[in-house]
């Protein structure tokens, strides 16, 4: 079976499928990764994913280069994590890399970058805003020295009701708009979920913004003058905002004003 190349944050990863259900896995992967697919060719892979019949293998296995399972959903979820880790690793020292979601004005390319640790609402906000603004990513934002964003429109991990595993879901299936050609950072936002919050945006001082964003960056210390690069980006855009909310819908109006006033 050929190797499939996917791209995101300006880098590529090559994936090969195997196991008795390789064709099923290959077809599902192509469907949910449609926005990141680049090519198909023979050659070596960076990651191998093997899907077998239930009971055909011992407990699921994964390491950096090989993922094996008898269930498609958890395998695809771990495959997304492995691909993301490899893409990000390839851009360490080159790009400003943030754990963030991002959407973009389809006309101007002005983009909202919302920074938060995993499990704190990036995907939910992305899904909400991405039906009106271009979907750039829900997990890893790569930013060039001149403030351009290199999109990574990966599948989104969505929990279906009471399903045991989250399901990797195509952005097409969710109705998310495509990324515009040249997205750029209009505004960085830090997300804070609070059960009783009514939805509030506040500005952070530069030092508080950098201190809050740095833990949500990838290998900033490997980027030449990484703190200066982050400070320069904030200086060139506008003060970082912290959004404190309980439901993502509370922040839609604020997001619109930022994305449409640019």
């Amino acid at each position: 079976m050929n190797v499939v190349t996917v791209g995101g944050v300006g880098a590529t990863v090559r994936v090969r499928f195997g196991g008795s259900r390789a064709e099923e896995l290959d077809a599902e992967f192509r469907r949910i990764w449609s926005r990141c697919l680049l090519s198909e060719e023979a050659g070596a892979a960076d990651v191998r994913a093997d899907l077998f019949e239930p009971g055909q293998i011992r407990p699921s296995h994964s390491d950096e280069a090989r993922i094996t399972d008898s269930e498609a959903a958890p395998l695809l979820q771990r495959l997304t994590q492995a691909i993301t880790a490899k893409l990000v690793a390839r851009q360490v020292g080159k790009l400003l890399l943030l754990h963030a979601g991002a959407v973009s004005n389809p006309t101007t390319g002005a983009s909202l970058v919302f920074v938060a640790p995993g499990g704190t609402g990036k995907t939910t906000l992305t899904c909400l805003l991405g039906t009106r603004y271009g979907y750039l990513t829900d997990e890893s934002v790569g930013i060039t020295a001149d403030g351009r964003i290199l999109p990574y429109p990966k599948p989104l991990s969505i929990r279906d009701g009471s399903a045991r595993h989250k399901r990797e879901t195509s952005p097409d299936e969710l109705g998310l708009l495509p990324a515009p050609p040249d997205p750029w950072v209009r505004q960085i936002v830090l997300l804070r979920r609070s059960r009783l919050a009514s939805g509030r945006a506040s500005e952070l001082s530069l030092i508080n913004a950098i201190a809050s964003i740095t833990p949500e960056s990838s290998s900033l210390s490997k980027l030449d003058k990484g703190l200066h690069r982050l400070a320069g980006l904030i200086d060139a855009t506008s003060p970082v905002q912290r959004w404190t909310y309980s439901e993502a819908e509370q922040m839609v109006t604020t997001a619109r004003s930022l994305l449409e006033d640019a």
């Binding site: 530069l206 030092i207 950098i210 201190a211 740095t214 833990p215 900033l220 210390s221 490997k222 003058k225 990484g226 703190l227 200066h228 400070a231």
Partner: protein
Amino acid sequence: MLQRNEPADALFFETEALLLYETQLVRLAPIGMAIFNCTAHPIHAADLTTALIAEFGEPEDGSAAKATSEAVASLVGLGVLREVTGEGPRD
């Protein structure tokens, strides 16, 4: 003798600083900033105390040496400072 570990990058603000090390970001208050500035080269703890007294005065309660020692211990724990051997210049 004490000497600072050089961060990958640093930003200095009016009264605070951010130091970026390989695995963590350290935020320094004014005394931490002063210690960082005094330890580009190895310095004896006593000389560091003298420098801090010159900049901030004697602490209102407790001794300057004790306050310096506590601040140094904190910065060593954060990886900002290290103890080095050898004879440095004494003022």
